[in-house]
Symmetry: C2
Subunit: 450 residues, 2 copies
């Protein structure tokens, strides 16, 4: 079977460019209006995308004065999107640091039932510094400890999702037997951070477990992804680092006894599309100029653990000495490293750096014709940089619509992308096996056995 | 303005009678199929009900072998129901003991946005004993402490829901101003159980806050309800105790400086409807006989803090000495008291007691003609027992459909119940004011000021 490309729509504000919301191609619906998310999902489903994805932060967005954010909570939103779509996967972010495992397990199992097997969980440890003070902690839980908790959390929720055999519900009114209690098991977890007796209080969901997505990129984060993730979101400014990342994750996954197809690597791509390259670049520059520097400065500060850059002049050239060492940064070491590499390579002014990050916050951006974009996608896909892409349209819905009308048909013509949905669950779209229950399977997956 | 009756549909399994699911009038959809909940909500909306309600327990249902339970999680379910309904209120249960306040506040605010102002929160402290071991506690948090936590929790989430002024979002692409940051405030809560800095990460919702519903019935629980609740669910086996409860709660609410109209009392009613009284009684008896004694025994045991009744003979008469003292029961003191009063009054056998509780778990049951049922409703409504009812059809959807086709028109003809929706939010249906933000209102509500 030919390898096939996967496309996920990353929904973010009114588009991934920081100034998207000021563009006439952006929706005018409020970001709290569910119809906006429903419409985007329907557009993406018409475009045969594998999935949509909602990120999440457990604190108010920085720079809310000048940036269109603060939308709805992901799990509620995806539940409402599920009922107006049929096929497209629904990936929501939830935190292993600030959620109770029993609550999270129930809600994702419900979403998987509600959507008939389309739920995916983007597993995050919550990198935003503002989260901790909303959960009783004065300071952020330390990076290593966040991942330690995440391991325990994954163990628990995997067990909860496996705690009902697929055939536990009998539901026979004649005999009066509703469930076979011998096919439902407690999980009896007692760990360092959590105690969870189980079983879950609802039947096993269509996919067995939601698809596990991860986006850690520090050393610890990659190891975690290689062990648990079935799809990995990742940010690269250029193909070279994407190739390294791809090889690293697939190699590490092999070290955990997993096959290369059990873990998909999906780098972000934020494409500004024009009928000529010049037109695309013009649109991109227009968006850059509509940004407000305070937004970019605050984001940069966050990437560097709260370091203050506001004393620097916007139009003077930057040097690496203007930045703290990335290894000292608790929030997101890898992103900080990526930014420093731009500074070294391009020697931009602060304003230029902010513009380059305004596009897609450190993800790969491209401005060009549909052919050029399809070429890049094909190249990354065929030469070990990607199994598909996290599509991050700079302006929504405009540049999603353009992508689907103009880029997708080229990918289809080249035999890279589906021309109809073949399956109906997210696992089927991603080509992933349905996991057996570790308690009731004929062949329990070794990696999750207690 | 004439006082008007309120009707809430309490959705539970395939109906409130324990054996409902074995009856041909019950749905055959799986309890994990979202269409079941959507259809019930649509039927209730056609019947002009104020709201639907989903209860919740944070552990697997007891007796799952012989009882049709274990459905979907309430908040995800209601989000999916919101998008196929327009008017009907959506009340979900969530726990102040086992949820993080920031997570709960976000999800209910999202549900209120998604539904355009139809969210209600049934505030529970989680009485089911099985919950604690799913949240790291070996034993259930003690009754008094659960309510102490609930007070703090209410204070926090009310502040979070008030942390954005109604006009905080400017969303003006021309000026580039998205939000007025001076109209968004941290809440800086530091209490015994929680620390929450705030603000919430999404704009204030259409209703300001979801409607607060409560169902505590111990002394502590009633005081809590009188202080915070805007609607109170309550279980009575007869009108007399309902009248006492009604007077007590309204009196206590007055003590908190609230008016009698700011808190609605909604006792449960589980009506088996027949074209003659004899037909209704026959249906009721049929349902009783389809029960499995193990289910009722386990429920009885739960009502009495885990006390074991299984050594008693099913067909011998009970005495109060067969039961522990209700005041020693941690779970649900008031329900235990109600059961003891039946034992004293009727001297039933254990089987008869289980049958009488199989109907609606301690709520008022009635078997009769539509006229008889309407008479009871009118009587309770007009003589200080109820502001409306928590409608608990023994079999779903059958006895909901009958209620709407046959009882509702009588109530309408008598001028007791609406003939069209006048408002579109749950607050409007319930006749409740929209609360001002305690931070940004012109007239902050005294009861919630820090
Ligand atoms: C495409 C993408 C989406 C992400 N979404 C979220 C998110 O929604 N919430 C979050 O807390 N972190 C999110 N992250 C951050 C990662 O989970 C991770 O914390 C970050 O990449 C830093 O890696 P590390 O945790 O290994 O240091 C995202 C990262 C990427 C690349
Ligand atoms: C109609 C009704 C619905 C209830 N729903 C729930 C529920 O969904 N979850 C829950 O934990 N408790 C529920 N309860 C229990 C109450 O919240 C409360 O704990 C119980 O009535 C005992 O009162 P007390 O807590 O004051 O002792 C419900 C009670 C009633 C009357």
């Amino acid at each position: 079977m030919a390898r096939s490309l996967h496309l996920n729509l990353f929904i973010h504000g009114r588009g991934h460019h920081e100034a998207s919301w000021r563009h006439p191609g952006a929706t005018r619906l409020p970001l709290t209006d569910i119809r906006y998310y429903q419409q985007l999902a329907q557009i993406a489903e018409k475009g045969l995308f594998d999935s949509i994805f909602l990120a999440d932060a457990l604190a108010i967005a920085d720079g809310i004065g000048h940036v269109a954010r603060s939308g709805l909570e992901p799990i509620t939103t995806l539940s409402a999107v599920a009922t107006v779509t049929d096929k497209i996967g629904l990936i929501g972010t939830a935190s292993t640091t600030y959620t109770e495992p029993y609550n999270l397990a129930r809600q994702f199992a419900s979403l998987d039932h509600i959507s008939n097997g389309r739920a995916g969980w983007n597993i995050v440890t919550s990198w935003v510094q503002g989260a901790a003070p909303n959960y009783g902690d004065d300071t952020q839980v330390e990076h290593a400890e966040r991942y330690e908790r995440a391991h325990e959390f994954l163990d628990i929720v995997s067990k909860l999702w496996d705690s009902w055999a697929d055939d536990a519900v009998i539901d026979d009114p004649d005999s009066g037997v509703f469930a076979d209690e011998s096919r439902i098991t407690p999980i009896r977890h007692r760990g360092k951070h959590h105690g969870v007796a189980g079983p879950l209080n609802l039947p096993r969901s269509p996919q067995g477990r939601p698809v596990y997505i991860q986006a850690g990129s520090s050393e610890t984060g990659r190891r975690f992804a290689a062990r648990y993730a079935e799809a990995v979101f990742t940010a690269h400014l250029e193909k070279k680092t994407a190739v390294d990342f791809y090889a690293d994750i697939k190699g590490q996954a092999a070290g955990f006894g997993r096959s290369r197809d059990e873990i998909l690597i999906l780098p972000g791509i934020s494409a500004t599309i024009g009928s000529t390259e010049a037109e695309a670049k013009r649109l991109e520059q227009e968006l850059h100029e509509a940004t407000h520097p305070s937004v970019g400065l605050q984001r940069l500060s966050n990437r560097f653990g709260g370091h203050d850059f506001s004393h620097l002049s916007l139009d003077a050239k930057l040097s690496v000495d203007d930045f703290p060492e990335p290894s000292t940064v608790q929030g997101a070491q890898s992103r900080a490293g990526v930014i420093l590499s731009i500074v070294k390579r391009d020697k931009p002014t602060l304003r230029q750096l902010l513009h380059s990050l305004a596009g897609a916050r450190g993800h790969f951006t491209i401005a060009g014709t549909p052919e050029q974009i399809a070429d890049t996608i094909e190249d990354w896909f065929k030469t070990g940089a990607a199994d598909g892409f996290n599509v991050m349209p700079p302006v929504l819905p405009l540049l999603l619509e353009t992508f689907i009308q103009e880029v997708v048909p080229i990918l289809q013509k080249r035999g890279l992308f589906r021309t109809a949905y073949e399956g109906s669950t997210l696992r089927e779209h991603y080509g992933l096996a349905r996991p057996e229950s570790q308690y009731f399977g004929t062949n329990p997956p070794a990696k999750l056995t207690a």
